[in-house]
């Protein structure tokens, strides 16, 4: 009888603790944790001047990415993205931008088909084409029309 009473007491106490902890979890404002969160989020928002990577970075050297055409294409795209692009007033309509799209599409389909798709994208990146785009595809964060490489598979 005594052991039953002890067991009952322990289970009741356990249940009581669960309720108390759930209530206290809901009511507490943890100011210290929020200050830490504020600090880390603010620091993440600082724009560090990170270079946009070379298209064939960290890839094994093969003929596909080491031939003169690929090198010239990759190099000019690198210079455009890191040196020239920021000085132009033009803004791309799409997300990813035309140069990023070109990089991704060349990686996916190779230089020939990727190049053709890039030319097609550049032809569609103008104010006349913008009137024909679906507003439902606007990315809320970037405020640009979503047009990823996946759509071309």
């Amino acid at each position: 009888m005594q052991s039953l009473l002890v067991r009952l007491k322990t289970s009741s106490l356990g249940l009581l603790l669960i309720f108390i902890s759930s209530v206290s979890l809901a009511q507490h404002i943890d100011l210290k944790a929020d200050l830490l969160l504020t600090d880390s989020v603010s620091k993440q928002k600082i724009h560090h001047h990170e270079k946009r990577p070379y298209i064939f970075k960290n890839q094994r050297k093969t003929f596909k990415n080491c031939n003169p055409v690929s090198l010239a294409y990759g190099g000019s795209l690198y210079v455009y993205q890191n040196v020239i692009s920021q000085h132009l007033s033009a803004d791309c309509l799409y997300d990813p931008s035309c140069s990023d799209f070109s990089k991704q599409v060349v990686k996916e389909y190779g230089l020939f088909k990727g190049g053709l798709l890039s030319v097609d994208r550049l032809n569609r990146c103008n104010r006349i084409a913008a009137t024909d785009l679906d507003p439902g595809t606007i990315n809320k964060k970037t405020h640009r029309f979503s047009d990823s490489v996946k759509r071309y598979k």
Partner: protein, 291 residues
Amino acid sequence: MPPITKFYFSFIFLCGIFLSSQASSTLKCDSLYASGKYFEASIEYERIIFSVKSQAELRYFQYKKALCYKKLMEFDRALNELQPIYFTNSGDSLFQRVYYEQSLCFYLNGEPTKALWKIDEYLRRSADTASFHVFMPVRLFCLNETFQWDEARECFMRFIQMQNFAPEKEAEMQQMVNNLYKKKNLPPIKSIKRAENWSRFVPGSGQIYAGEAGEGIVNFLINVSVLAFSAHQVYNGFYITGYLAGLGFFNKTYHGGIKRSGILASQKNKELIVNFNSKINASIRSSFELN
């Protein structure tokens, strides 16, 4: 059977009923939240939101769902949950917490003016002046971000007064705040308008003003070379290439440079304010009793 045993049996029985009803799922959500599975917890809260009947419960679970999104660093989604919560009674136990989370999420979402607006709304609606202190750090950071230095200093002073420090400690803290907000110690904020105007008159100079000398020089060289190309073409009689291609491209680089200098000045300001706020944040965490 002794009455104490009867009491324990009834207690466990009632708990069993409670756990098997809606409360069990509440406990499940809370345990998911407590174990750090915020995404799963948000889904569970969403499920409960559809089944609850009273407004008070709805408010509570929307608040909890918003906390999950906050933990997932999705502050705009957290705000979407918090914004529809409306209180007719400012004495509600959730009133302070919802306003606090709204202001914090607005701040974390990069909207300090809206955060200030929420805090002011709370200060006007709430009669509980003792609870103001939790809003003070967020208010202080927002005032700094919007360059309202005098109000920020005043807010920091009030926050110190609310802490009930010993007189010597309070005087020391007030001295620290006065030093922090002296003109020479404030972050040297760059004027976006001035940066743009510099670039308007001498391409590239706005970038140099914003602290990016290399970028400014590159911008200047690009503008000069495009203009030289245009002049060379016109001089040689290639008027279409000179005027259309040359000046068309110059239009892009010239206005791009103006826009870029504004962006760089704004980024520089952001960086300076983040470092300034970070210093204040660290001093609050180390010196204040935060409960």
